[in-house]
Amino acid sequence: MTEIDPRPFLAIGTAFLAALLVSVSHKYPNVREMWSTVASVIMFGLVISMAGGVLDGVTYEYTLFYLTDTIGLTMRVDPAGMIFAALAALLWMPINFYSIGYMRNNHEAMQTGYFAAFALCMGSTMGIAMASNLLTFFIFYEILTISSYPLVLHERDQEALLASRKYLAYTLVSGQLFLAGTVGVYCISGTMDFRAGGFLSLDMASPWVLQLLFVLMIMAGSVKAAVMPLHGWLPAAMVAPTPVSALLHAVAVVKTGAFAVLRVLGFVFGPKLLSQLGIADVLAWAAVITIIASSFIALRQDNLKRRLAFSTIGQLSYIVLGGALLTPLAFKGAYLHLVAHAVMKITLFMCAGCIIVRTHLHNISEMNGIGHKMPVTMGAFAVASLGIAGTPFIIGFISKWNLAMGAIQAGKPLFVAVWVASALLAMAYLMPVVRMAFFRPEPVNDPRRYGLISYCMLIPICFTAILAVLLGVNPELFPPDFYRLAEMASSAITAGWGGGWSD
């Protein structure tokens, strides 16, 4: 059932309007931050108000205007889009409060530009989540690239300059290739509308053309999702302020990359065509290599933010691998991991930011005993770390369980071993931090000075950590009900095709 409803555009418009209001009211910091806070709440309200309908099988659709004679700037909220939209809207609220606390306590410059770009990023993420066709998707994808560029460049120093150039180079190149792929898809199929299960088929073009188009299109998502060897920009982008890293890693950029991969796999090519082409295996193996290699690199990083960055690279490839397995449970696990990783990684990054603001420590080797003075922060860090490693009763377990089941469903149990190995590696690179924080004494001869506690930063951390546990205990909890949405999305994608599983 499809309903014409402008709410998707209202959600996007809210964020874009907020960006405008933020830049206008640069003289009054409190008014400025009020705009983004209000916008985040309104956006969440709008998205959540559609969740119930989507769960009942309603699809909300709206065309704002036509981009070309046949293709409109159209939003369509299906379960897959709803997962991502609800996730982004849900996490914008805590990260916004956290940003306020972080930027003020750390005395950052250019806060107006920061909050404006932040709102633009959120608006375009909404657009990406709910876009109904490839062209609309591409438009918001490029807006996201452009609006996250000033965030990477925030520090305005040489390092930031180089990082931002690297970021632009990676994302623009992949964007242009994606565009070329999109044009090709349009020319052979005559349509651009996402359809669950894919709209391309073998009779449209010869296999090598389809394979080429697949490579062109998957590249864009893979760059943003930092699948190796396309991950180079992500560690470099760590020069940005910590809330930006949290945003890049948890909500906006890398997640849109993973989401793009899933859209291309499930809604453009479809599992049936991909299994005929056999090219998804290449993607799967790239993801496997990324998972293992990035975990080993993460082990060797002393800078906490960099260690988390490499952890992100590995975790994102879980999602890519889930999609590339092409089975119902793997898709479900992939969508769930989109949510799970966002909630856990945002917590970890916010903790890292809190440590930086209060103690100005960046390196793990210097963090002995900080848990004594910052018990809540490091407690949340511990919870999220356990979640990343896949401990039961934290959200990460549910997604990984489904992913592992998906691998078995695909008849490729070897991938389960990959997940187990990576879980152990995650334990190995995250738990030492927790151990050092709580079970090592503070250095005696060099007493640390702690800054003031900022509740603006602490409360969001608690919120996301509790969320990770709540969703881990009962994933169907909560109005958006991510579990059922993921199930709906994956069954729509794999309808009529069991993925090697003979049911």
């Binding site: 205007f65 438009i139 807006i143 690239t145 623009l172 242009q176 044009v183």
Partner: protein, 499 residues
């Protein structure tokens, strides 16, 4: 109503009479002549809009206006179709908007220079509009010369090396114009007619003769020179760089686009593209386009003078138009036309920004723009929009022309064009993002103010508003590009493509 029927001729007639009277009025009061020209340009803009409405309401392919009611092929006629009214609207709009922008540059000039500038400016508009709407090949030659001569004048007015640049353009431009004249001569010898519609029928028996190939080659070189198509672009970087800063926006925006449009008109509407000669020519055009795109972009990368970089970027962008034409299918044609209009706005906008910086600081080095976002906010925002459009980021207009060009390349299975388009977007990104970085990121450059900013926005309002308007147009053209395509370009598609 009867006046509306005469609207096509007013597009040319109003600026022509105003330009001729301009100096006389300027003698009375220094600035009066300029007001008369501006009024006429506004009139021309209204006439083009009325004409466009008329053409679109008529529903036919084109409206013919007979000069003095002499019937063609003997008499001269103006032929307006949806496409060239759109181009005429673009020209008159930019001419009108940029005429305000020129004024602060002329503040200290005496009546002769002030009036003389606007005479040339008005005549340039006459030439451009005339070339666009005329349906007579010799009449087009006249307008081509009006355009060129006034263009030489405006370029020479720039001071500092501009004489040399103008002279060089004059030499090369004259070769182009002569070749065009020779082409017309042979065309007349073959068909016995100077009317385009008439020629398009009478030429058909000759399309496989060597003479026809010669004519076509003459036209390609003539218009290639005027639109600065690689490798005929040698005159262009100097001319754009040293032309009068008040007119540079208009010159760079329109003076290369109208010959491109004329070429498009000859190839698609008069000669038809489905014969061996034109087939070969399309290949040549495609190669010229590709080389232009790549070499223009690389040369732009190497420049440190902002204006010169923009000039080389124009070489590249004209290559897009050539490539679109060379595809020889509907999408390619739409892409070429769309890019012709879009690029006029992008390039004008950027040249206006540069002119503004030169006006206030006397600085054109693009590595000395640090902190400009604080000093000239409107210019900086317009630059960002234009840059995004140049790279082809939606929803700015540059994306849509590139979109149609890519579709055309896929449809024609000319995959090399796609590769070139992708590479060129990335090259554009490199040399344009550098400017944004300079403006927004780099430490404030120590610049001396040679003119008082007057307003908070960093420049006199008569300069800020044109910059803002052209910048905004980039966004608006992008958002409304589908209606531009369906209502105007697709209505005016040449018949050769529809078969």
């Amino acid at each position: 109503m009867s006046l509306a029927l005469h609207s096509p001729v007013f597009i040319v007639l109003l600026p022509l009479s105003a330009s001729l009277l301009c100096l006389a009025f300027s003698r009375i009061h220094r600035k009066l002549g300029a007001y008369v020209v501006q009024l006429a340009l506004f009139g021309a803009l209204i006439s083009s809009l009325v004409t466009m409405r008329h053409v679109l309401a008529e529903g036919t392919k084109s409206v013919h206006y007979w000069m003095g009611n002499w019937a063609p092929p003997i008499g001269i006629e103006f032929v307006v179709d949806p496409l060239n009214t759109a181009v005429a609207c673009m020209i008159t709009f930019l001419a009108f908007v940029i005429s305000f922008y020129s004024k602060p540059f002329l503040e200290n000039e005496d009546w002769l220079h002030y009036g003389g500038y606007f005479t040339l400016y008005g005549l340039l508009t006459v030439g451009l509009c005339g070339m666009t709407v005329t349906g007579d090949v010799f009449n087009m030659y006249v307008y081509l010369e009006i355009m060129s001569l006034s263009g030489y004048g405006l370029i020479a007015l720039g001071g500092h090396k501009s004489m040399l640049a103008a002279f060089r353009y004059l030499l090369v431009g004259t070769i182009g114009a002569s070749l065009y004249l020779i082409g017309i001569g042979y065309l007349y010898a073959m068909t016995g007619s100077l009317n385009m519609a008439d020629i398009s029928e009478r030429i058909q028996p000759f399309v496989n003769t060597p003479l026809f190939a010669f004519v076509v080659a003459c036209f390609l070189i003539a218009f290639g020179i005027k639109m600065a198509l690689f490798p005929l672009h040698g005159w262009q970087p100097d001319s754009y760089t040293f032309s009068h800063p008040g007119a540079a926006g208009f010159i760079s925006g329109c003076m290369s686009k109208v010959p491109a449009y004329a070429m498009l008109r000859y190839f698609f509407y008069v000669f038809g593209i489905h014969n061996t000669v034109m087939g070969a020519l399309m290949n040549v055009l495609g190669i010229m386009g590709i080389c232009g795109i790549l070499i223009g972009s690389v040369m732009a990368l190497a420049q440190y003078d902002f204006r010169r970089m923009l000039a080389y970027s124009s070489v590249a962008q004209l290559g897009y138009i050539a490539v679109g034409m060379a595809m020889g299918n509907i999408y390619g044609f739409i892409g070429a036309v769309l890019h012709l209009i879009n690029h006029a706005f992008m390039k004008s906008s950027l040249f206006l920004v540069v002119g503004g910086i030169a006006y206030r600081f006397g600085e054109v080095n693009l590595y000395r723009l640090g902190g400009l976002n604080k000093k000239m906010p409107v210019s900086s925002i317009a630059t960002v929009l234009a840059v995004l459009s140049m790279i082809g980021i939606p929803p700015t207009c540059g994306f849509f022309s590139k979109w149609y060009l890519m579709l055309g390349a896929f449809e024609g299975q000319q995959y090399i064009f796609i590769a070139v388009l992708v590479v060129s977007s990335l090259l554009n990104a490199i040399y344009y993002v550098r400017i944004v970085e300079q403006m927004f990121v780099q430490r404030e450059a120590s610049l001396t103010e040679i003119h008082d900013p007057e307003t908070k926005l960093g420049m006199p309002l008569s300069m800020v508003i044109p910059i803002g308007v052209t910048g905004l147009a980039i966004l608006i053209l992008g958002i409304y590009s589908s209606s531009l395509v369906t209502n105007i370009v697709e209505v005016g598609l040449p018949e050769v493509l529809l078969k």
